[in-house]
Amino acid sequence: MEMQDKEFDGLFTSKFDGFEIEPSPMVWQNIAAELDGKKAKRAIVPYLSIAASVIVLLSVSIWFFNRSTEKPDQHLVKILKGIKTGKQQPVIKDNGSIEPVEKIENEGGLKLAAVKTGSDKRTDQTVIAQAAGQPQQQETPILTPEPINQKPEPLLAVLPAEKPITLQAAVPGNDVPLTTGSLAEQSAAPDNKPQEALAATEPGKVQVKKRAHGLGGFINTIVAAVDKREDKLIEFTDNDGDDGSRVTAVNLGIFKIKKQ
């Protein structure tokens, strides 16, 4: 026999009439505590923790900005001094010694220098002509973009022949032919390259260990010093071929982004 909705509801109502369940003793303790005003105390805690986080974030960022603004300036001064003395950009060789850079002229009339950093961990096979990325303003003799009337050709750098090595110009995207247009863009790039240039110009102080590359790498190093977590507060791309300024990961505790 089918029943009406009212009857159905009524059966539930009657079943629950006088239905009781004993609560655990904790409930009264919590009520008493809450009536004593402990809830008010609890309510302050989130504000305290927010205030604490703000202070921590502020102090970290102040410290961070002091570091990241001072150092590059010092580097720039040194670079400019080095350039005024008329020194040529040196070449770092496998054995760690430094030699003046070779000028290479290609058919397109473009001059560039090849820098082999064979001791660098990552570049056993790949040689990167860092100079191609040097901003023009530094008046480095190694890169003088001249009008190209012929068709643009990929740049090749010549190396001391130890073993056959493929040379690649450090133009963004290794396969892209170098054009005046792209050079102009690079010249206008942010002043992240001078830091690298400095490391290479200091005579006798060739860093064999892996250095921070570009501003991104520099920030990564600083963040890593402060933030010991596996996912750092902020991470940038860290390689020579890139412009080094792309954010690859952000970790704000509850909010995480990571680009592979």
């Binding site: 026999m1 239905f19 609560p23 919590n30």
Partner: protein, 190 residues
Amino acid sequence: MRLLKPTYTIDELVTRCKTGERKAQEVLYKLLASKMLGVCMRYAADKAEAEDMLQNGFVKVFKNLNEYRGEGAFEGWVRRIMVHSAIEYHRKYHRSIQLMDVTDSGHEPSVNAAAIATLSAKDLLGFIQTLPANYKMVFNLYAIEGYSHKEIGEMVGITEGASKSQLSRARTILKDMVIKMEDKRYGNAG
């Protein structure tokens, strides 16, 4: 000589509770707590949730005791506060489970009254607790508490129509559960 524990009427207790006397509050709480937990259980998914609702409800009872003017039964007043505490709890923790669109499948399971009569309050409680949060809310408020769809709409923050369709859907699900339980019993017996 008074060997027996002193007994108080609810009105006496309420008067003493209004002055903030902790002992009177405890006695009043113990007098009503298990009955009110029985109410909260129907709105919750489990006992822990129900106890949270009960706790918040009783804190409100004691803090707003001055608003109780003695009109109507005190127990009814407390019960209404518990129901509101349950609604508030759902608003806070189950907001994402808003099932607004209820499509009527046209499927209407038929159960007979005798089948439900054999079930215990605990069985029925188990059914209600497994309902989606909104259905559970509307079924409790309408079928057991006796609120109208208009009142439910205002209390829960949904339209009258949504309240009606959710009630209908809740009934269908409950009937299905009763039938399944019945089948299981016959299966076990045979």
